[in-house]
Each structure stands twice: as C-alpha cells, then as structure tokens.
Symmetry: C2
Subunit: 218 residues, 2 copies
DNA sequence: TCCTGTATTGTTGTATACAAGTATACCCCT
DNA sequence: AGGGGTATACTTGTATACAACAATACAGGA
C-alpha cells in the first residue's frame, strides 16, 4: 500500500462512512461491525476503528459492546443544526471580515469562479463540494478555532440536504449570488454587511431545505 | 489487562491527555510522540492513537508527519467558548425544562446534594467534577444530540478555568445557589426562567474567570 | 574547516495476532 | 415438542510487527 500521508486511509474511511450515513446507505439503527467495514472497504480494522471513533464523537454512531449502531440525522437534528448556524455564523462571518487574510480571500474568489462555472451547468454535485469549501474557508478565516471546530462539522452534516435543495429549485442561482455578495462584504471588510448577508443566506437555505423535507415526508 | 469495556484504555488515555493539555502539563508547542505517550502511560500505541484522533478533532492538538503538536487553550479560546455558551445554552436549558425526564431531574437533585456537601468543605476539585456532571445532565436532558455534542466538550475544556475561579473567591456559594435556582426552574418546567438563570450564570462565571485571567496575566 | 553523503534512529500508518466477552444457534435431554 | 445447556462464531479492545518516510547526527573527503 502506497503511503499517502496527507490522505490517510483512516481519513478516507471516515469520509466514506460519514457520507454513507448522511445519505442513509447505512440506515439509522443498522449495526456496523468493524470486520464488515474492513472487508467492505478493503482495509484493516485499524483505520476503521479510528474513523469510527471520530464518527462517535460527532454523534453519527454510538458504539456498544457488539457493534456501532448508526444514529443518522433526524429532521430535528436539521432544525438544530440550523439553529446553531443562526446563533454562531453571524459572529464567525464578522470576524472573517475583520481578520481574513488576502490569501484566503483569493481562494474564496477562485472558489466563486468555479461555482459560477458549475452553476451554469447545474452540477449540484460539484456545487455541493464548492459550497462546503466556501464555508470552510470563511470559518477558518474567522481565526477562531472554536468556531471552526463547531461550524465546519455542522455544515458538513447538512451536505445531503444542501444537495437535495440545490437539485429541486432555482436555489442554485440564488445561492450563488448570495455567495458573491458575501464575498464582496468580506473583501471590503464590512462586518455588519457580512453578518446581515449570512443571516439571510442561512434563513433562505433553511426555508428551502425545510420545504424539501416536508415534501419528502408526505 | 482486565477488560473494563465501559472505561476503555483509549477513553482513559483521552481523559489523561486532555487534562494534561488543559492544565498545561503538556505545554502549547510541545510535540507528543505516540511512543513517548505509550511509555509514559504504560499502554500500547493503539489506544494512544485513538485518543489523539479525538483530541485532534477537538483542536487540542494538530497532527503532522512527525508528531502531534499541542495547541492548548488560549485566552481568546476562553472568550470564544463563553460566546458559544451565551449563544446556545439558553436554548439548551429551555429544551431541558420542556423535556427532561423525571429520572434525570432526580440525578440533578442528587448531584446538588453532593455540591452542597463539598461547597461547605470548599473542595473545589470535587465541585469542578460535579459542575461538569450537572451541566452534562442538562445538555443531555435537552434531548438535542447536536447541542449536547457542542456544549459538552465546550464546557469540558473550560475545566481548568472553572476550578481556578472556584478557588479564588466566594464564587463557590454563588455558583451553588445559582445551580439550585436552575434546578428548581427545570423541575417546575419554567423554561423562560431557566433560560434567564443560565444566562446570568454564564455571565457571572465569565466575569469571574475573566478577572482571574487578567490577574494572572499581570 | 566546511560540505556532502550515508547510516542510524525515530516518526507515523497499517496490518495482523491475541485475549476476553457475548450473543446465538444448535443439539441433547426430559 | 419444549426447554436448557453447551459450543461456536462473532464482537470489541489491546498489543505487536512491519513498511515507508523524515530528520538528524556523524564520518569522510575535498
């Protein structure tokens, strides 16, 4: 096995299992045994265990004596994650406006160019990943480890819902233009505007996602 | 080695290293190698690695190719953690007031009795642990996995500062009486009162801790 | 003396071996 | 046929072995 330190098997395994839980490939209630995952993913139990440990810390699974039971993400969890976003993202964006480096702003800009490209093509798969990167850059740019460590996994776990939302409406264009407006507010170091825009962005995303969830539940 | 599943070596190792980082036994910037920790704690690298993985997720350390560098907790982090508390704890306590089980309320009550006992003895070490349990019970009682997974580690990481605060003033009595008031609000299902009281509790704790930090920095 | 190349030591990442416990299925006995 | 006990297979937790890579110290030559 080649030794790609930066993308260790444990990290890859974490991403795969996380994605499978979020997308309910592993359904809530299902029990994941280490040996099963080991066979399934073709790696030994060691990286599996490390990934499961982190997933447990994020409350996506719960370990017991005879396996890890999948907890998954409930609609209540989605509500709660948006509550967290509403409560903390304005402050994070304020700080990013104040202290984000020019380099990070450059990365944001380049990210936006890609967003524009894929928005035209309506490629929600790519847009979903770019959205994750966009937000992570800003969380990191806030300079607060605490905010980053809370908001980044929070945003991550909403991935499936964000993608579904982008697929089902004209949210692609709106989302993109909101991102552009946020970028300009950050670049101009206008923290009041940045806070106001992200609040609106979160509210819009919430409404959109909520509609999708209600539609699905019918 | 006896097989106490519920308190696995990995969990114990996590607690020890976490405590050592919080109390700056391992100073920020210091590099922790797995083999060193393995010798130091008398266990193999396997549980060490699992603990380090979780510590990295909590941003207490950062792993690189040649070891894990200790990040520690800065005074800015303390500010940020209180910001998170102010933003999210009122909502958590509201929900706890609404949905906490009678059993959990019983546990809170018994915890308070112990708090009273140790408050009289001014045993800040025990009080610190009881305070952790008290808050964890309420976070869990909120019924929100999301809030619990954010607020519990957040409160944990403030441990050192909470203890220092309890040692340096008459905060012991005030903290205890605030806890009692919160318990009664929860038991009476008065969510408005619970939210108001925790807000005040957080503000008081913040002022107290902040004074200590300023005093130390001189 | 300084620089360069090599060897040693230390690091992480991964796989595997082993111990201990548990649930389950199956067989035997009543 | 039904119930109980045993054996088996599967689970996690831990330790160790091995591979790949990195840094460093040291020795030798220019």
């Amino acid at each position: 096995m080649i030794d790609y330190r930066s993308v260790s098997l444990a990290n890859q395994v974490f991403s795969v299992i996380e994605k499978n839980i979020i997308n309910e490939v592993y359904a809530p209630g299902e029990i994941l045994s280490e040996s099963r995952l080991s066979k399934e993913l073709g790696v030994s139990r060691t990286p599996i265990r490390e990934a499961l440990g982190r997933l447990e810390a994020e409350k996506l699974i719960a370990s017991s004596a005879n396996g890890s039971v999948v907890l998954g993400i409930t609609t209540q969890d989605v509500e709660d994650m948006f509550m967290v976003k509403r409560a903390l993202e304005p402050e994070a964006f304020r700080r990013a406006a104040r202290s984000m480096s020019e380099g990070a702003l450059e990365k944001l800009k380049s990210n936006l160019e890609k967003q524009e490209f894929y928005a035209v093509k309506k490629d929600s798969e790519q847009l979903k990943n770019l959205d994750t990167e966009f937000h992570d850059l800003i969380y990191e740019g806030s300079g607060s480890m605490i905010l980053f460590s809370i908001l980044s996994p929070n945003h991550h776990k909403l991935l499936k819902f964000r993608k579904a939302s982008l697929e089902m409406s004209d949210r692609i264009e709106h989302s993109y233009s909101e991102h552009v407006a946020i970028y300009h507010a950050l670049a101009e170091r206008n923290e009041d505007l940045a806070a106001a825009l992200i609040t609106e962005h979160v509210n819009n995303a919430y409404e959109n996602i909520n509609e999708n969830i209600k539609r699905e539940e019918k």
